[in-house]
């Protein structure tokens, strides 16, 4: 992790405490454009806290964030969004009662706004076109973007959010347990979408405690346990089994064997 210029975002010595509980203790983490990093660890390892620090939800007590090599202080989620950090949480930000294309442009309607004299209005045609094209670009075929989002399957909903992140030029895509509620086929699709985002030059962080899912797509792994970094491994450094063992045992046995 020495070459400073390569990382999109870098977290150095990040600590975060909630009252007496130390959620993160001097954690290092970094991700570069065009790579998928698997952030793995058991429940309570600090994965969620770390991504919330990277999404501007939590302000760290100690440590430093660097964005494209420059010191960064994230104030709130909106600030992170404006930088190009797009976080897809487990409970998706999809409005079921609204159509797919209205969901797609939600909160970013500027791109589909047109002027009529002194008035500005939402061009539904433009919004439909944006949604359709953007979803096609990440390889998602939708029957009709006029359908309510409620009709989509879990995997399709995930893919809408990924398509949205890619279209609005997210530089960093954070996926929080994306496959936890999906069928095997749908999980496979979401993994393909993540690879599409990576190929488009996006830095992807994939949070999960399921090593089998993350192993096929991630380039590197960062293992967290009890709020500290157990290590960072390239894909060919560890087997799937070794990685699983590290997560389960908190690293003690795996480290002992090293």
């Amino acid at each position: 992790m020495s070459s400073n210029g390569k990382w999109l975002i870098e977290a150095r010595n990040i600590s975060k405490r909630f009252g007496h509980i130390t959620a993160l203790s001097e954690v290092d983490f970094a991700v570069a454009p065009g790579e998928i990093v698997g952030l793995v660890g058991d429940n309570g390892a600090g994965k969620s806290t770390l991504i919330k620090v990277l999404s501007g939800v939590h302000i760290p007590d100690d440590g430093q964030l660097l964005w494209e090599g420059q010191p960064l202080k994230l104030n709130n989620p909106k600030h992170a969004m404006e930088l190009g950090i797009s976080t897809v949480y487990q409970d998706l930000a999809i409005v079921d009662t609204m159509s797919i294309f209205r969901n797609f442009v939600l909160g970013r309607e500027e791109g589909s706004t047109k002027r009529f004299g002194p008035f500005s209005y939402l061009s539904l045609g433009t919004a439909r076109k944006i949604a359709l094209e953007a979803l096609n670009n990440v390889g998602i075929t939708i029957r009709s973007v006029d359908e309510p989002a409620a009709k989509l399957s879990g995997g399709e909903r995930q893919s809408i959010e990924i398509g949205r992140a890619v279209y609005y030029q997210a530089k960093l895509l954070i996926m929080d347990e994306p496959a936890s509620a999906l069928s095997l086929i749908e999980t496979e699709k979401v993994l393909r979408f993540m690879e599409a985002a990576k190929d488009a030059g996006v830095a992807v962080i994939f949070i999960t405690h399921n090593v089998h899912q993350v192993f096929s797509v991630a380039d590197r792994f960062v293992v967290l346990s009890h709020g500290t970094t157990l290590g960072t491994f390239d894909k060919d450094e560890k087997t799937k089994e070794e990685l699983s063992e590290m997560i389960v045992t908190g690293g003690s046995e795996a480290i002992a064997r090293m």
Binding site: P77, I94, D96, G107, L122, P148
Partner: protein, 335 residues
């Protein structure tokens, strides 16, 4: 969900789009209800198919409809406004009282600003204090009614019916039609454009459909709600003003129980009571259906008390249809 691999992507025809558009409309029940009650009353009611009956329906619907548009938009954003009847009455009382001392050109704007402020205040309380809107505006219902009684001292206020400004709101044309209907039409058209064709409209649906998601996508949900509470009260105040010249005087009870009729009309018109779904046109059609029942019953020579029962039946009828339309459109995922 099954693989749709055979379907050609992006080959969307105009017909498909029209179908998708129609299948997503919330107005279906209101249209059916309107046709049904019209057919029934054309047999039972005297002179129901005359111009006079039609104009009566339109006039009653126009005053209620202006209120319903604001309430429907707020319902779509996920919140109730039970105070509209009281705000309507209070605004009329304020206009009537002020006009004893000042010209209507000052009294009317002042009263409308007061109505708007009441709404913004209620919205602020709901958003910042986290009080459920149902309870807060129930408080508003009682409070603003009380303020109206204090101002009017419980007495009738004579309306200066030939005042020019009031005539602009509610002139009776030679045909017997009140110009109120054009105000109603204007509010419906503007409300629909606002909901369907502005980014703010998109925010309204999102705020009511999934509050957390709307916030995560950067929608200023607090601002949206405060402004919509303001709009609801403003339109109630406008309706109160528009209604004035049709009567000789304003009674302290003006607008009492109106809030229930309005919510009934919104429900008939396909507005989802949990938010996120509905239309201004649906609410307008719901209001016309309710007004048709009122006029139809009066012309059928039955006691006026039957009105509530008939509206009740209509609500059940409409909600059954709306639920099935909703379920077909939104699937089982959405409660």
């Amino acid at each position: 969900m099954a693989e749709a691999a055979t379907a050609a992507p992006a080959a969307e025809t105009t017909l498909d789009r029209a179908k998708a558009f129609l299948a997503f409309r919330p107005e279906t029940a209101a249209i059916l209800a309107l046709i049904t009650v019209s057919i029934v009353f054309s047999f039972t009611a005297e002179d129901f198919t005359t111009k006079a009956a039609f104009y009566s329906i339109i006039t009653l619907a126009s005053e209620r409809g202006i209120v319903a548009c604001g309430v429907a938009i707020l319902l779509i954003a996920g919140h109730f406004d039970l105070s509209v009847g009281s705000v309507l009455g209070l605004t009329a009382i304020i206009v009537g009282t002020l006009m004893a001392d000042m010209p209507s050109s000052a009294a009317v704007p002042l009263a409308l600003v007061i109505a708007l402020s009441i709404g913004l205040l209620q919205g602020f309380a709901v958003v910042k204090l986290g009080i459920p809107s149902f309870i807060l505006t129930l408080g508003g219902l009682l409070l603003w009614r009380g303020v109206g009684y204090v101002i009017s001292e419980g007495l009738f206020i004579i309306v200066q019916r030939d005042d020019t400004l009031l005539q602009i709101f509610s002139h009776r044309l030679d045909t017997g039609l009140y110009v109120t209907c054009f105000w109603f039409l204007g509010v419906v058209v503007l409300g629909t454009l606002f909901l369907q064709r502005t980014r703010f409209g998109n925010w309204v649906f999102a705020t009511g459909g999934n509050y957390r998601a709307a916030k995560e996508q950067g929608v200023p949900t607090d601002l949206v709600l405060i402004l919509l509470f303001g709009l609801s009260a403003f339109l109630a105040g406008l309706a109160g003003t528009v209604q004035m010249p049709r009567h000789l005087y304003i009674e302290s009870n003006r607008g009492r129980l109106l809030e229930l009729e309005i919510i009934a009309a919104c429900a008939i018109g396909g507005t989802r009571i949990w938010g996120g779904y509905g239309s201004v046109i649906g609410a307008a059609l719901g209001v016309i259906a309710v007004s048709t029942i009122q006029v139809g019953l009066a012309r059928s020579g039955v006691p006026a008390e039957w009105f509530d029962g008939f509206v009740g039946l209509l609500i059940v009828f409409a909600v059954v249809i709306n639920r099935s339309v909703e379920r077909r459109n939104l699937g089982e995922r959405v409660e």
